[in-house]
């Protein structure tokens, strides 16, 4: 059974090409356009990976990660942060909240693949 990934981003174009890449790689992909939709999806389904933007309407990515990590059912889902926030302080905040990988926009396909490899093949965060 293929692994299930949730992409959360308010930018439609980003969701679109991420989905194309991931489907090609054989993953099952779901989408959410804001924080609220993301939490809704997380509640309904079991995911193997969460790729999450930070600056989004309604609920931001920090909130999504916080709730995800504080829920016993979801806390083991690996999280890749995908954001335009490129400050070190943001990156540390992300790792502190429990994110496993932090990617800043804009990024290339290779960076994405490296992230996926980290998540699924070794299943460890580079920091650990």
């Amino acid at each position: 059974m293929s692994k299930k990934i949730l992409i959360v981003d308010d930018e439609e174009a980003i969701r679109k090409f991420l989905k194309i890449h991931l489907v090609k790689l054989g993953y099952e992909v779901k989408e959410a356009a804001d924080g609220e939709q993301a939490l809704e999806q997380l509640g309904k389904d079991n995911f193997d990976l969460l790729i999450c933007d930070i600056m989004m309407p309604k609920k931001d990515g920090w909130e999504v990660i916080k709730q995800c990590k504080s829920n016993p059912k979801m806390k083991n889902i690996p999280v890749i942060v995908l954001t335009a926030k490129d400050q070190d302080s943001d990156m540390f905040k992300g790792y502190d909240l429990g994110a496993n990988y932090y990617m800043t926009k804009p990024f290339t396909k290779d960076q994405l693949l490296y992230g996926l490899k980290l998540m699924f093949e070794e299943n460890v965060s580079p920091l650990q």
Binding site: D10, E11, E12, A13, I14, K16, F17, L18, I20, H21, G35, M55, M56, P57, K58, K59, D60, E63, T83, A84, K85, D86, K105, P106, F107, T108, K109
Partner: protein
């Protein structure tokens, strides 16, 4: 002598004089043909003394009684002597000699001795002429005691008169002594201007610190401070020549070695052959101190007045310049004298009438302070002019202080600051903008990568469309930024649709502050376009909207943007349901650099820029706020400009 004794002595003396005169008349018998006249004369004389005895005692204390008495007695006695026979010239001569002696003598005893000698000499003469042993010898003999008694009588009266005068003098001297001693000014009596001190009053003792006894052993020159002695030579010469002179600011040496400044005036007083000099000394120590204080504070005020680098002048209520400070003279490259007396508007601005916006006019009219900003086209300067009234004791306007501050540089600096505030604003926006650019940029990159891998050309077309969309959005954001940072010039004015700009501003702010749960309500009515610079209007709105978002913080809330048309204006309202502004800050929020934010979070220029832009277009801005409830900014722009 008591008045009672005086009366008695006078009456007794007169009785004696009457008896002697009567004897002289009655025993003379020489030429007397009219015995009646002799009797009437004697009776009159007797009666006069009886009447005199009824006069009140106190009359005898005044000299007024004695002059008629002396005249009366002398008349009666002279007539009596005439009625007596042998009215020889020698007898008259002796009688008047006695009167002269009596009236010039100051010493009663000496007079009595002279009277005695005169009587004896006269007796001897009568004897040598053989008159005493003649048939009428008795009448001649009577002349001798007559002379003596007359001497005593006149002598006593003259003595009494002079003693009274002396007593009067004594009384008035006491008065003058009191005045002298208690005078507020020091008085020194001198025998000669520079010499021995004869008398001093208490004030001299107090001021000099010497006792009177010490002073009486000193020369006046001893009191002068050594450097003064040379200087005062002319002064003493003047006193000697003219009898009086004044000298100001002399320095006197006190007992304790310190010096005191005095004004000295000296006057010669002539008492018969004797000359005295009266030196009046006025201690100036207190006055000096006071004068020094006044001079000092005057100097300080002048220094402040001149030291102020802004232009200050004091003007009469008819704009006439009474006084200017150095800055004015320097500014007009002229001297103080050139400016004083001229009208302000004429001297400063080469005008024939007061300037239109002159605050001095207002102060002259209302007696209230005024201020205004004047732009001078000639030299491209901006002046801030303040005026303050100076009122007289009755509350009338005595003069006006005009304070001119050249704020040209300040304004330029403020422009620069505003410009840098704009840049700072861009900095704040930048992170948000970076995000918003990076998002479509990420889309572009991602889509491009996919498109490169894709062989299906129809799919590729779709991807290219996505790329185009993203790129166009980036373009829009950049355009918005450009208008934000631009400085508007006159030629940059265009017709501005406020609704459109409001929409765009909202979009820009939301890029920067994407908080989750702010509900935006837009109540836009179609409004007339205004003549303005789009960038500036956008700045106004972005500032207000950003503030509104910040006021609601992370709590979320509601932002209401509304526009509507009024009679001659367009109204824009920006309302938030944020934390509100505390009442005490409401009047300060438009001040430059006023901020309640932490250092580094806000420069305090945002609302000032808003205010300046709004007022530049002759608009108004009002604020209403309640803590914990929210804030509404209401802006009105006039529409006349666009119609014109």
């Amino acid at each position: 002598m008591e008045a009672q004794d005086k009366k008695r002595v006078i009456l007794t003396l007169r009785w004696t004089a009457i008896i002697v005169t009567s004897y002289l008349i009655l025993f003379g018998r020489g030429r007397i043909t009219d015995l009646h006249l002799s009797h009437i004369l004697i009776a009159t004389y007797l009666l006069s003394n009886v009447l005199l005895s009824f006069l009140p005692k106190k009359w005898f204390s005044t000299s007024k009684l004695f002059y008629p008495l002396v005249l009366f007695d002398t008349g009666i006695i002279s007539f009596g002597m005439y009625l007596s026979e042998k009215m020889a010239t020698d007898f008259y001569l002796v009688f008047f000699l006695i009167i002269i002696f009596a009236s010039t003598s100051r010493n009663f005893k000496l007079l009595m001795v002279i009277g005695g000698i005169t009587a004896l000499v006269y007796g001897f003469l009568l004897h040598s002429w053989g008159l005493l042993i003649s048939k009428e010898g008795v009448s001649y003999i009577l002349r001798i005691p007559f002379i003596f008694i007359m001497t005593a009588f006149y002598g006593y009266i003259v003595q009494t008169l002079t003693r009274e005068k002396h007593e009067e003098l004594t009384i008035s001297e006491d008065k003058y002594r009191g005045l002298f001693e208690n005078a507020n000014e020091g008085i020194i009596i001198l025998r000669n201007p520079q010499g021995q001190i004869a008398d001093v009053n208490r004030e001299v003792e107090r001021a000099s610190g010497y006792t009177k006894r010490e002073l009486l052993q000193k020369q006046f020159l001893d009191l002068l401070a050594p450097p003064e002695i040379e200087k005062t030579r002319d002064y003493f010469e003047e006193v000697a020549e003219k009898g009086e002179a004044r000298a100001d600011y002399l320095s006197l040496k006190k007992k304790d070695g310190t010096f005191m400044e005095v004004d000295l005036s000296m006057k010669r007083i002539d008492l018969g052959d004797e000359h005295f000099y009266q030196a009046i000394i006025r201690d100036l120590t207190k006055q000096r101190k006071l004068e020094k204080n006044i001079r000092e504070s005057k100097r300080n005020l002048e220094a402040i007045f001149d030291g102020i680098r802004d232009r200050l002048s004091i003007q009469a209520p008819d704009y006439q310049i009474l006084r200017v400070n150095r800055a004015v003279a320097e500014n007009h490259k002229t001297s103080f004298q050139e400016l004083i007396g001229r009208k302000c508007y004429e001297a400063y601005f080469q005008r024939t009438l007061p300037c239109e916006k002159c605050p001095v006019s207002l102060t002259i009219e209302t007696k209230h302070p005024g201020s205004s900003i004047m732009k001078l086209v000639e030299d491209n300067t901006t002046l801030q002019v303040f005026s303050y009234p100076i009122l007289d004791e009755k509350g009338g306007l005595s003069s006006v202080i005009e304070y001119i501050k050249d704020i040209t540089e300040e304004q330029q600096l403020q422009e620069q600051l505003i410009q840098s505030e704009k840049l700072a604003g861009i900095g704040i926006l930048a992170s948000g903008v970076a995000h918003e650019i990076n998002n479509p940029l990420t889309g572009i990159i991602g889509m491009a990568e996919i498109s490169l891998e894709e062989e299906d050309s129809s799919k590729n077309k779709e991807y290219l469309n996505d790329i185009l969309n993203c790129a166009q959005r980036i373009g829009e954001i950049v355009k918005g930024l450009k208008s934000y940072s631009r400085v508007a010039k006159k030629e940059d004015l265009n017709s501005v649709d406020l609704n459109e700009v409001l929409e765009e501003s909202l979009k820009m702010v939301r890029l920067a502050v994407k908080t989750a749960s702010v509900e935006v309500v837009k109540e836009f009515q179609p409004v007339q376009k205004i003549e303005a610079n789009t960038g500036e209007i956008q700045q106004v709105f972005t500032n207000l909207i950003t503030n509104a978002y910040q006021a609601m913080g992370g709590r979320g809330g509601k932002l209401i943007l509304s526009t509507r048309s009024l009679k001659n204006s367009v109204e824009v309202k920006v309302t938030d349901k944020g934390m509100g502004i505390p009442q005490k800050y409401l009047c300060q929020i438009f001040d430059p650099f006023f901020t309640t934010k932490n250092p580094g979070e806000g420069t305090g220029l945002g609302l000032n820029i808003v205010y300046r832009i709004v007022t530049k277009y002759e608009g108004t801005i009002d604020v209403e706020s309640k803590e914990q409830i929210g804030t509404t900014f209401t802006i009105k722009f006039p529409t006349r400009r666009a119609e014109a």
